[in-house]
């Protein structure tokens, strides 16, 4: 008898754990299993909203220096990276035929002066003739017609004189224009700055208006930042900002919003703003370097706050899974400001102390059984 009982026990020893395991498996997996969730109590907290955008380092003032007429570069004395002073000669354009044209202009001027003298002489002579013939007419020795001729000649001589003097003015002005052009061949720095571009070397022909040298004002570096429009609420001039340059990922520079551009980028749907460095980095960042900018908005008064991971949209309504007496209820909420740390203010729908589901192992429904846990299984911190 004992023998048989031993066998029965052995059989049960195998079968019972097997059945126990089967029941455990059936209940802990599949639709019958409770969904592990983590919960958090809604807290009254201060949210410090912040805006995050990326931009590029740019110079506020940049000067493109080039000739005003087409020509050839004669010499260029500065290299990229040179610091130059206002008024410093940077280079010069080849005059080509300008000197010769100036010489011709001088000669033309002299000739015009000679012509002016000639016209003056003619006018003086015509004037005296006219007076003489008028006297003779009074004495009835010449015909009236002759006097009229002389007066006509006087008028012609006066007209010729005024023409000659205007011609002189014209030629003088032309000479001045040529001189100005010759002086303009000098490429002069309009302000203190750093040479950032030297786009032509001596001997290169450039068209009028083409930049030969580009200067920037190193004191005027700013960051041209783009903020996504949905995240640009509250952006205003004067707000403090934090600038992280891509080449100095660990280092944060203080900045300030100088202005928000009145024109947004309608293609990329971004709002643009200019951020000044409070103090320029000791080593200037290259223009065009990528910078991440975080603008801190004024802290908002304390209000009920939930993590953004708790927010769900069910059937078109934004809300959270609220746990009331261990039962799940979907509570629609109206959200307010959000911080970059993922905390969102709730304007309507929840009060401080309410418990809401933050993380869940799978999608919840109001019929789901939940198993509150500290941390979801399988998640390493």
């Amino acid at each position: 008898m004992f023998h048989i009982q031993g066998r029965t026990l052995a059989l049960l020893a195998v079968l019972l754990p097997l059945i126990g395991l089967f029941i455990y498996v059936a209940l802990s997996s599949g639709p019958l299993a409770p969904v592990p969730v983590t919960m958090v109590a809604v807290q009254n907290r201060v949210v410090s909203p912040a805006l995050f955008g990326i931009g590029t380092v740019e110079a506020r003032y940049s000067y493109k220096i080039g000739p005003t007429v087409a020509g050839r570069v004669k010499h260029l004395d500065v290299q990229v990276g040179d610091y130059v002073k206002a008024g410093q000669l940077l280079g010069e354009m080849e005059p080509v035929d300008l000197e010769a044209r100036l010489l011709a202009q001088e000669a033309a001027l002299k000739r015009a002066q000679a012509q002016l003298r000639e016209a003056e002489e003619r006018q003086v002579y015509a004037s005296s003739q006219a007076i003489r013939y008028e006297k003779l007419l009074a004495a009835h020795t010449v015909s009236e017609e002759l006097v009229a001729t002389k007066q006509h000649e006087l008028l012609l001589a006066a007209a010729a004189l005024s023409g000659a003097s205007e011609e002189l003015v014209r030629l003088t002005a032309e000479r001045e224009a040529l001189r100005a052009q010759r002086d303009n061949l000098q490429l002069v720095a309009p302000a203190d700055g750093l040479v950032v571009l030297r786009s032509a070397d001596p001997g290169t022909t450039v068209v009028a208006g083409q930049a030969v040298v580009e200067l920037i004002d190193t004191q005027s570096l700013w960051v041209n930042v783009r903020f996504n429009q949905t995240h640009a609420h509250g952006l205003a001039a004067g707000l403090p900002a934090e600038i992280v340059l891509r080449s100095h990922a660990g280092q944060r520079y203080a900045g300030q919003v100088l202005r928000v551009e009145p024109m947004a980028d309608e293609v990329t749907e971004e709002t643009l703003a200019k951020i000044n460095f409070v103090q320029l980095p000791a080593v200037l960042p290259p223009l065009g370097e990528l910078a991440e900018v975080t603008v801190t908005l004024p802290a908002l008064p304390a209000a009920p706050v939930i993590p953004n991971a708790a927010i769900q949209r069910i059937e078109g309504r934004l809300g959270v899974w609220q746990v009331i007496d261990d039962d799940l209820h979907f509570t629609p909420v109206k959200l307010g400001a959000a911080g970059l740390d993922g905390q969102v203010q709730v304007r309507e729908g929840l009060n401080a102390g309410d418990r809401v589901v933050v993380y869940s192992g799978k999608a919840l429904s109001s019929k789901s059984r939940i198993n509150p846990v500290e941390r979801l299984p399988g998640i390493k911190s």
Partner: protein
């Protein structure tokens, strides 16, 4: 009444239990194979569920964005947003690629989600750790299957991303885990070429006399700038207002925006019916063969188990046991064997399913079908065994 079957099992319980466990492992494999098939189909469905969309607007005449590539301009959403019945729209990009983290890289589907708040179509619907994306750049939410942890730095193309949140069961239709990043970054990752390619392209453009004209300074820069735009997305996800018919909204977008629009059921048809059709059939075929083989093995085991007891049965017959009692003995044993096999198989499948690299979905209905099938096969197999047992000559008990 003493159960003959129970007595017999007690007599040789080791052999019986171990046969049952062996059988169970075979049933477990069959159940797992069914799970693999269900998992494949489920992967396709969760992709659609997680996107939260009612309609998918894609490039005209494509099966995008999952089954074919589709690219549309990223400002088309504005026109779609203004269509009647449309509640929410959002741009989205999908790109399956290797995401690097330190020394290793993981195959993942990088999804670009429109900036905004959680709950927009395309956003991960629920997290298991961390938080949703709040910055417009360089943050990522990754599926736990990628193996990334909160705070990890991951590299997608040229940019580093900070993992701020983790999700679960966010996979592409081929089972690759998803990594969510802001749309702008994703557009860059998808459409912006690597630095070498950009330099080559600039050089090529600069060498083209049509673009690099000496009389027109600035033309070259303008051409190069226009070459490096990336104003494309793969699809626009649309959620419709409650009470509107999705077919109607889809039809009006198709008609007036001249784009291709898929509804949820059409998308499911594309994913399940086209994208994973062949691989699903492959697994399905394998499942059928495995089921047949398992059935055959179960039948053989029960048959040989009965034949092993043929002498004892002959003795039973000799002492005048009724045929019904002998038949019950065999059938009870067969069903018990099947029961143990099913329990072991179900347990084994449940425990090894999570170890599989891709999702294995063990549906309760499949288990019920499996249980019924096992019992039916056991009964059928025992009928053959009973026939053999009843034909045995009682004389064999003494003679044989």
């Amino acid at each position: 009444m003493i159960s003959l079957a129970g007595r017999d099992i007690q007599h040789a319980w080791g052999k019986f239990v171990f046969t049952g466990i062996g059988l169970g492992l075979l049933i477990g494999v069959t159940l797992t194979m069914a799970g693999v098939y269900r998992g494949m189909v489920d992967d396709a469905k969760v992709l659609l569920d997680n996107s939260g969309a009612d309609l998918w607007v894609v490039q005209k005449d494509t099966l995008g964005p999952y089954a074919e590539s589709s690219s549309i301009y990223d400002d088309l959403w504005r026109g779609i947003r203004s269509m009647p019945g449309v509640a929410r729209v959002s741009n989205i990009t999908y790109l399956t690629m290797q995401v690097r983290q330190g020394e290793r890289d993981v195959r993942a589907m990088v999804t670009g989600v429109t900036a905004g708040e959680p709950g927009l179509p395309g956003w991960p619907p629920q997290l298991v750790a961390g938080r949703q994306i709040t910055r417009g750049h360089y943050e990522a939410v990754a599926d736990v299957a990628t193996g990334f942890k909160l705070g990890d730095q991951i590299q997608i193309r040229r940019n580093q991303y900070h993992v701020v949140g983790l999700t679960r069961r966010m996979v592409s239709s081929s089972g690759d885990p998803m990594v969510f990043i802001p749309l702008r970054d994703a557009q860059e990752a998808q459409f912006l070429k690597d630095n070498d390619a950009i330099r080559q392209q600039r050089r090529r453009t600069a060498e083209n006399p049509a673009f690099n004209r000496p009389g027109v300074p600035g033309l070259l820069d303008a051409v190069i700038a226009s070459q490096s735009t990336n104003a494309y997305v793969n699809a626009v996800l649309v959620q419709i207002e409650p009470g509107w018919d999705e077919q109607m909204v889809a039809e009006s977008i198709r008609r007036w925006k001249r784009l291709t629009v898929y509804t949820r059921s059409q998308m499911e048809e594309i994913l399940v019916g086209k994208l994973i059709a062949t691989s699903a059939k492959q697994i399905g075929m394998f499942l059928v063969i495995l089921a047949i083989v398992s059935a055959a093995i179960v039948a053989f085991i029960i048959y040989t188990l009965t034949l092993g007891k043929i002498r004892e049965i002959a003795v039973l017959k000799l002492i005048g046991t009724r045929n019904r009692t002998i038949a019950a003995l065999i059938m009870q044993q067969a069903v018990a064997l099947g029961g143990i096999g099913f329990v072991v198989g179900k347990i084994a499948a449940t425990f090894w399913a999570p170890v599989f690299p891709k999702y294995v979905l063990l549906q309760p209905l499949d288990s019920v079908i499996g249980f019924v099938a096992v019992i039916v096969i056991c009964v059928l197999a025992s009928l053959i065994a009973i026939r053999a047992a009843l034909k045995v000559d009682p004389a064999e008990a003494i003679g044989g």
